[in-house]
Symmetry: C2
Subunit: 281 residues, 2 copies
């Protein structure tokens, strides 16, 4: 059987993409992973699409240095804003989190589909387009939930009354829609899957964009005969644009295990990797 021992490149605006890494490591334990978290410029979800696109292109270019066999855009906002631009320039296949999540939601139900995501992801229309393309006639509702990322980063858990109040507020219209599936369209949101599931009820299947992306990666590697020859013991090498120690400390929550190898890379270095054009949209 053929194999490819190069690493998988994964990037996110910060720590959230480590939920994708966690699922990747579970599904593909032999693969080496190189991760970049752009913690100095986090979050992407509140910025203009042009700025998000530029940051994402720089992140992808940085990971290109490691000769990845596959690139994972583990950030819904970057996927929504920049997947076409990244795919057009990447030296390898690119997996985003939006398309696999939309496909998984449509496969899970014949009924309406809900999406919760950042403001920029909803504004980009990427989920709405992906769901409408393959799910013609479906009722679709995408709701922006700007407070959920800071809530997760503050370390609040599902029992916290603030979490309940904020979720009740955001999910009101989605509860009325009674979706058969709902995409957790931000890599931070799986950490709130418990309280979200309770509020939506058992008839709504929650789709984690992290899991959907990890399954898509496995599928693509298998189809191309590009799995690592090793079946377990893969490594994880992390890079961050902010303080590496802080990244390692906070990242353990997301990745579910200690992060032993975190290096600093400056945003000035990233900014130098891609030719610039003025921001227009």
């Amino acid at each position: 059987m053929s194999s490819d021992n190069r690493p998988i490149g994964v990037f996110d605006s910060g720590l959230g993409g480590l939920t994708v890494v966690k699922d990747l490591a579970k599904i593909l334990p032999g693969e080496d992973i190189v991760y970049l978290g752009d913690s100095a410029r986090v979050p992407y979800g509140i910025k203009s699409l042009a700025t998000i696109r530029r940051f994402a292109m720089e992140d992808a270019a940085f990971l290109g240095r490691f000769d990845p066999k596959l690139l994972v855009v583990a950030c819904n906002t970057a996927s929504a804003a920049a997947i076409d631009a990244i795919t057009a320039t990447a030296p390898c296949d690119v997996v985003d989190v939006v398309r696999p999540s939309a496909a998984a939601a449509l496969a899970a139900t014949d009924g309406p589909v809900g999406v919760v995501a950042t403001e920029a992801t909803v504004r980009s229309g990427a989920y709405q387009r992906a769901l409408a393309a393959d799910g013609a006639g479906r009722e679709i509702l995408a709701v922006a939930c700007p407070l959920l990322v800071p809530i997760v980063e503050e370390g609040r858990d599902g029992d916290d009354p603030i979490v309940t109040h904020v979720l009740c507020d955001y999910l009101r219209n989605l509860q009325r829609l009674r979706p058969g599936a709902m995409v957790l369209g931000c890599t931070h949101y799986p950490l709130l899957a418990g309280p979200i599931g309770k509020l939506m009820g058992p008839a709504t299947q929650l789709i984690s964009s992290a899991t959907a992306a990890a399954l898509d990666v496995a599928h693509r590697l298998d189809a191309a005969g590009m799995r690592h020859a090793r079946v377990e013991g893969g490594s994880l090498r992390c890079h961050t644009t902010d303080n590496p120690q802080r990244f390692a400390e906070l990242g353990a929550t997301f990745g579910g295990r200690p992060l032993d190898h975190v290096e600093y890379v400056g945003t000035d270095e990233l900014e130098g990797l891609v030719a610039r054009r003025p921001v227009k949209s």
Copy 2:
């Protein structure tokens, strides 16, 4: 009487500093103001002190181009992390928001003093040091309120039950302290002064860091005979590292008036202005 017709430079991580601009324009209506909002890298308050310091130094260097007579660090987080570094290199006098706010709080009461601020501002200890230096023996309590900036940016107002719930949670220990004065130690927070005042009660005087900084600017200009010769009709010129149209739209909430003149400046341009060292803290 002597005068100085050069502009005042003001910067913030994003839109929040426009609350300082609003108070400056009220107190010093003749002054020209050049503003930089680093919206592409906002917020600063969740990042490491070294990264905040680097961003703030770049922001200050950019404003240096306009030959300002005075530089205002209109961001509590940047003031807390970088005031010494900026003061050491700036070509003019520098006003921050922390020291004037601490002084105003101590002047307003002989009792305990409270502070609400971002996580990085509280972690830096800048308010605690400034209050302890001039208010020996005072009870001081600084509380980090990470959700308040995203709540303000989401456009929620004081009647929103989410705002009440979140404020009750953050202010619990401050209510027990019964402070005579409490600093709103983030330029976003004056937009929540209504509900914060209701929860703290009339015995706690709220100190807006925006107003305190604007009064300090007026005081320094008067002391140095550096007011503009004009007494009204000053101009406002804004720059942002993200989309200028979006900045103008959202900025009207903070500045209280339309922003007619907003220009784009790239973060790559800012990154080039200051020599770089690796992030250590």
